[in-house]
Amino acid sequence: MDKFVTHKGIAAPLRRSNVDTDQIVPAEYLKRVTRSGFGDGCFASWRKDPDFVLNNPGFTGTSVLVAGPDFGTGSSREHAVWALQDYGFKAVISSRFADIFKGNSGKGGLLAGEVSQDVIEKIWEKLEANPGTEVTVNLEDRTVTCEDIVAEFVIDDYVRWRLMEGLDDIGLTMKHVGTIDTFEKTRPTFKPKVQ
């Protein structure tokens, strides 16, 4: 997993609340057997609408999504995070995330930062007025900056540390590989083996 300290990129305003994971990646895309390539499923239904924000050429190459409250509700599918990342998003800023989505984001390395809906509204106005505006998400300071708006976002301390260290759960566990080796030597010989 790449380390996330600070990221600057074009932000897209998603002026919707209750964006459920079925919208982020519809079920028909779940049959894939790879982890990559979910980008074409990302907001697949909404992208059929030419007026959908991500179809605006001004937001081409966007990497920060700014969404309304209750982002990521519904099915626990980890594919929702994979789809957002594969589409190019590094961070999602919302006024409230669904618990499971927030957990899955942390696991997958997608920053999910919470700010007040008031801040979201102000950022939306800036982004809509000037498509292509860049936003800076600074995890060290826990701030999101959009022109003259500087707002602190909320993120779990443990998740922040992991993202900044670039450690996925596996990377983190790998730090204990010596302890695992030692533990394995103490396992009783009667424990079964498959092959």
């Binding site: 057997v33 980890e78 790998m174 695992i180 009667f190 079964p192 083996k193 498959v194």
Partner: protein, 468 residues
């Protein structure tokens, strides 16, 4: 203070523990199937990682497999692709796999125990919520997500926060016509589908001690339907007898050492559970679900409930929705509900004892002309065992279809689907809307009730056959 069974098994597997961090738990056995594993293997590939312990990892094909014409290629391209990929992954990472046609192939939770791979005191995981089945042996066994599958493949460990513990004590003896399935359905109806949230359930008491290993597996299997992470039963002579002599059971000095350890795996008398539920076995009867979640169940002798019976507005709406989907009218005796399909199988009730129970009811009887009945063994071995006992003949003579091993009609991911609008009595574990096929209606029952229902064409228990 003493420890509960779950705490003993947990503590014996902690590799690393630190303040403010989850415990790192060692996993003794990782079971894998074709649906939840492809992205995990892809993740390993992308990061250049290997499977740490191929000798503790076992793959079987189950969710997607057809149960008829198994020698032919799989017709559905998506299912065929998942099977192709899991075989390629097994090959690339050097893992043992039971493929279609192998006598060991079958439902992941039937395969582990019958090979003796499931033993007391182990930690067992699988990307499947019904992994709780293995808790019947006094193992700590639970379902995990795809990221966690990758984590276990790479490290043979999982970072986890401890679960809470709940004792479910069933006092006294079960009435003769009450099975493990009836008991677990009654428990879920009592505590609700969210009642076990965050807990490991430990089933205890005289009625539990009296259950066979397969009955215990049925109980632990459905712990997840009460919202629990896992279900456990302390190992005893019944457990040791079941494990002894199986392919992967310890032998010689290892057996003696194992047995000595296994006998310590009981909840200490001074241990404290976070919660406790007590049930009197004598009050139970054959059970059936009437609604669209496993907690919506009643004794078979009862009638369809009314939304007016609800204790609050939320439940009232839930009952109304369920009755509409199930096409049932309040007050209708459950035994008058006509059924189109009967399914005996699944990781809940697809073992040899379940097939014996269904066969004993069907013997000398015919499946009603209005009913289509499928009997699907949980594994290739169960199928062979049943055929050696002549159970297949009983099923076929009664007019039921005798099929090959797989998850089958439990979950509508393979060709075995209940058609829209049809009503099924099913020995599986979930009666959600569309679970057995879009628009299909499901009543969860025991194998005995399934067989009696097939004969009479309406929900019935074996006792009703005598009265015909």
């Amino acid at each position: 203070m003493g420890k509960t069974l779950a705490e003993k098994v947990w503590d014996a597997h902690v590799v690393h523990s630190a303040e403010g961090e989850p415990d790192l738990l060692y996993i003794d056995l990782h079971l894998v199937h074709e649906v939840t594993s492809p992205q995990a293997f892809d993740g390993l590939r992308n990061s250049g990682r290997k499977v740490r312990r191929p000798d503790l990892t076992l793959i079987t094909e189950d969710h997607n497999v057809p149960t008829l014409d198994v020698a032919k290629p799989i017709a559905d391209p998506v299912s065929a692709e998942q099977i192709r990929v899991v075989r390629a992954n097994a090959d690339e990472f050097g893992l043992r796999i039971f493929s279609i046609g192998d006598k060991e192939q079958g439902i992941v939770h039937v395969v582990g125990p019958q090979l003796g791979l499931t033993q007391p005191g182990m930690t067992i995981v699988c990307g499947d919520s019904h992994t709780s089945t293995h808790g019947a042996f006094g193992a700590l066994a639970f379902g995990i997500g795809t990221s966690e599958v990758e984590h276990v493949l790479a490290t043979q460990t999982l970072p986890l926060k401890p679960f809470k513990t709940m004792a479910i004590t069933v006092n006294g003896k079960l009435p003769a016509d009450v099975t493990a399935k009836d008991l677990i359905l009654a428990i879920i109806a009592k505590i609700g589908t969210g009642g076990g949230q965050g807990y490991v359930l430990e089933y205890r008491g005289e009625a539990i001690r009296g259950l066979s290993m397969e009955g215990r597996m049925t109980m632990c299997n459905m712990s997840i339907e009460a919202g629990a992470r896992a279900g456990m039963i302390a190992p005893d002579e019944t457990t040791f007898e079941y494990v002894k002599g199986r392919d992967h059971a310890p032998t010689g000095a290892d057996w003696d050492a194992a047995l000595e350890y296994w006998k310590t795996l009981t909840t200490d008398s001074d241990a404290k559970f976070d919660n406790e539920v007590v049930i009197e076995a004598s009050t139970l009867a054959p059970f059936v679900t009437w609604g669209t979640n496993p907690g919506q169940g009643l004794p078979l002798s009862a009638s369809v409930p009314s939304p007016n019976d609800a204790k609050d507005e939320v439940e009232k709406v839930a009952i109304e929705r369920a009755l509409e989907y199930m096409d049932l009218k309040p007050g209708t005796p459950l035994k008058e509900v006509k059924v189109d399909n009967v399914f005996v199988g699944s990781c809940t009730n697809g073992r040899i004892e379940d097939l014996r129970a269904a066969a004993s009811v069907l013997k000398g009887n015919k499946v009603a002309s209005t009913v289509e009945m499928w009997v699907v063994p949980g594994s290739g071995r169960v199928r062979i065992e049943a055929e050696l006992e002549g159970l297949d003949k009983i099923f076929i003579e009664a007019g039921a279809q005798w099929r090959f091993a797989g998850c089958s009609a439990c979950l509508a991911m393979n060709p075995d689907k209940i058609p829209a609008g049809k009503r099924a009595a099913s020995t599986s574990n979930r009666n959600f809307e569309g679970r057995q096929g879009p628009g299909a209606r499901t009543h969860l029952v025991s194998p005995e009730v399934a067989a009696a229902t097939a004969i009479l064409g309406h929900l019935a228990s074996p006792a009703d056959l005598v009265n015909v």
